[in-house]
């Protein structure tokens, strides 16, 4: 191990840390607002990567079909619940919101799929196409049981992961794909040491997106509503914040993050239909370091996971994942010493 190697490993770790950072933000956001550990997060990232790969191969991505089916299910669920409450007047608006909005990216993808379009447009469409996935899934499966215990929610979200990864295998096949690099630039730092433009782009995107998140939470009403729900669900309801609506926002934002992750990592790693899970799992380690509530601590955790992973792969390739996941043990020990157990009380309040 000399300085060159340490630098290369450090940069590699930063690049994967940037990805875990985005994924960790998504996980913490969904968990703090809805108490769901959103396991299918990684699958959505894989979907966006594979959708982009399908566009590049000149195929119409099968993701369109998935979004359409989910849209139909969501419309049925929404209209069904309105009919049961005899709220006939709200049906047309629900149809427009649940049926109309998700169809827009589908139409866009349908229109441009198979044609030769610019790479930038392909990326935009791939990200947009997966944005409705999490909100629709949540509307169909998670919202009706929003008040169940955190354990039930975790199990349901795990089941959703298996569903999505099975669908991924059916849609995209067992083979992995790589997409074209977004940029071919490379920067030279010092003697013979290069940083590829793609890695720089990943880190920059992670910084910009987390900056935007910070601004959203601090400066906008929407962000404040999300924070309020995260801090105290009952209190937020009392001041007129609708939990279903904030949950929808959280899912939409995390879906968008997953979409970005997919298109960012697809050029540097081979993406398979089930690659998302392991990304989600490592981001989960980062989120645990942040206690599933703190965004800054999650960011630190994500970078730590990325760098530990990169150095571990140098020291012992076979034990890399063991080392990364072993990070959880000291972190959990430390956290349980430092924090008071107030979660049980909160759950009591909810019911």
């Amino acid at each position: 191990m000399n300085w060159d190697i340490a630098l290369i490993l450090g940069i590699d770790g930063l690049a994967s840390g940037a990805v875990y950072l985005l994924a960790g933000l998504g996980l913490v956001l969904v968990f703090s607002v809805t108490r769901v550990v959103f396991v299918p997060f990684g699958d959505i990232a894989a979907f966006s990567a594979l959708t982009l790969a399908a566009f590049e191969m000149g195929r119409t991505p099968p993701t369109i079909g998935l979004v359409l089916v989910l849209t139909v299910l969501a419309v049925l669920t929404e209209v069904g619940s309105l009919v049961r409450q005899r709220e006939w007047a709200r049906v047309p608006r629900a149809l427009l919101l649940w049926g109309g909005a998700p169809l827009l990216p589908c139409l866009l993808a349908w229109g441009v799929g198979g044609t030769s379009m610019s790479p930038a447009l392909q990326i935009v469409v791939s990200v947009l196409l997966v944005v409705p996935v999490a909100p629709l899934l949540a509307r169909v499966v998670l919202q009706p049981i929003a008040n169940a215990s955190a354990l039930v929610l975790l199990m349901v979200s795990l089941a959703l992961h298996f569903l999505l990864s099975g669908l991924g295998l059916m849609f995209f096949g067992p083979e992995g794909s790589r997409t074209q690099s977004l940029t071919n630039a490379s920067f030279t730092l010092g003697a013979g040491f290069n940083v590829s433009g793609q890695v720089a782009l990943m880190v920059a995107c992670a910084l910009v997106l987390s900056g935007l998140f910070f601004l959203m939470f601090e400066r906008t009403l929407m962000g404040k509503a999300l924070r309020a729900t995260a801090v105290n669900r009952v209190g937020a309801r009392l001041v007129g914040i609708r939990p279903a609506r904030t949950a929808l926002l959280a899912y939409g934002a995390s879906s968008l993050l997953a979409g970005f992750i997919g298109v960012l990592i697809a050029p540097v790693t081979t993406m398979y239909y089930d690659s998302g899970f392991i990304i989600g799992l490592k981001a989960f380690v980062a989120a645990i370091i942040g206690g599933l509530v703190s965004y800054p601590m999650t960011a630190v955790g994500a970078l730590a996971v990325g760098i530990v992973e990169s150095f571990a792969s140098f020291w012992s390739g076979a034990l890399k994942d063991v080392i990364v996941f072993s990070l959880l043990i000291p972190v959990l020990l430390l956290r349980s010493y430092l924090t008071y157990h107030s979660e049980e009380d909160e759950e009591e309040l909810d019911q």
Binding site: L9, E175, S196
Partner: protein, 384 residues
């Protein structure tokens, strides 16, 4: 009423007739990985098997029926499915499974239940444990020694190794160290990565730091492309080698220009159309290609489907030589079928010529390997 009664009577006769035919049916249990990380090779195996059943599904007056199960890339599911096939379906022969760990699990069931098994992956079974088992894959040392010969000719003195952190990676490493020692080539690294890993940057750095003349990998399918991509990124310029497990079109697609010039050993099926006209496997290989084209409406491009096809050929050949009067489905028939399999002589398959003898699960010789080079996305035959 009378009509009804006659209808009932005739259908009863028909049922007994059908039942009579079914009694003579040979049942073959086939396990492969249709999902999970091994599915990238498991699905081609299944496609090859579909072509095989379309090629011929009748032997010595018996119909042959295939029962296929998915093991989801999981050895314990493979073992459970094998047990189900043996106990509930009373199969006469087991074929499978795609991954080596799953295949080892199936082999344990075959041995215990005294059911003959034709493997389709390079198993590591020796002695009495293999009394009921043969495989249509080439032994890994045979394939790796072909690569080492090729390295020796190219003047390689040191070679770095990176492979999967599973039994496939171990098999290739063991084969490599054995033949490399004999050829005076030094293996300088033994790096490992998991099939699902997204980066091997650390391992590759360590390999490049060891300054090897050449690199060889022990991966398979598209996950096997990762080291070549990372090596290209690090600017490694030496010759690159691989194994037969890499040969499929998706590997070429994912690895792209980074695998240009890759040398790998393979069964002759991959370059069947480039073989000399008198090569023993050429005719059956071309037959396989045409039946595969007919069944799937697409050309065969990988070696895996051909292993499954060869397993079917071994079964057909052995069943045609069973002289015992025992009916399929009985223990006596299974024993007779096993003896017939171990008496296979000069059977031309798509991957080589099979001669099975008791005492070894492998039945291939030098005719089952050629060295191919990846040149602009096409595998081309190299002169030995």
């Amino acid at each position: 009423m009378k009509f009804m009664r006659s209808l009932l009577a005739s259908s009863a006769v028909a049922l007994t007739l059908v039942g009579g035919v079914q009694a003579g049916e040979i049942k073959v249990g086939f396990i492969t990985s249709m999902s999970g990380p091994v599915s990238s090779i498991g699905i081609p195996y299944a496609k090859g098997m579909q072509a095989a059943t379309a090629y011929k599904a009748e032997v010595a007056g018996h119909k042959v029926r295939l029962i296929q199960l998915d093991d989801a890339s999981d050895p314990s599911t493979a073992a459970r499915n094998a047990r189900k096939l043996v106990e509930e379906e009373k199969v006469d022969l087991l074929i499978g499974s795609a991954g080596v760990p799953s295949a080892m699990a199936v082999a344990a069931v075959a041995r215990e239940s005294k059911t003959p098994m034709v493997g389709i992956s390079p198993l590591n079974i020796t002695g009495d444990d293999g009394a009921w088992i043969v495989t249509t894959a080439q032994p890994v040392p045979l394939m790796v020694s072909a690569v080492v010969d090729s390295m020796k000719k190219a003047g390689v003195k040191t070679v770095a190794y990176i492979g999967f952190s599973d039994s496939w990676g171990d098999l290739v490493y063991d084969g490599l160290t054995k033949s490399a020692d004999a050829a005076g080539i030094k293996v300088v690294t033994n790096e490992r990565y998991a099939r699902a890993d997204s980066s091997v940057a650390g391992q590759v750095l360590k390999m490049v730091a060891a300054r090897p003349d050449a690199v060889i990998t022990g991966g398979s399918g598209t996950p096997g492309a990762l080291p070549y991509l990372a090596l290209a990124e690090r600017g490694f310029k030496g010759p690159i080698y691989g194994t037969h497990a890499l040969i499929n079109p998706d590997f070429v697609r994912v690895a792209g220009p980074s695998a240009q010039g890759l040398l790998a050993p393979t069964g002759p099926i991959i370059v069947a159309d480039q073989l000399p006209a008198n090569y023993p496997t050429r005719k059956i290989s071309m037959d396989f290609r045409s039946v595969y084209q007919r069944v799937h409406n697409a050309p065969t491009t990988d070696g895996f489907s051909a292993y499954a096809f060869d397993a079917w050929l071994v079964m057909l050949d052995a069943a045609s030589r069973v002289t015992s009067k025992a009916e399929p489905g009985s223990a006596a028939y299974r024993a007779a079928l096993k003896d017939a399999i171990f008496a296979t002589k000069e059977l031309a398959g798509t991957h080589g010529v099979f001669n099975f003898k008791p005492g070894s699960i492998y039945g291939m010789d030098e005719r089952s390997r050629v060295i191919v080079k990846l040149d602009k996305g096409v595998w081309t035959l190299q002169q030995p």
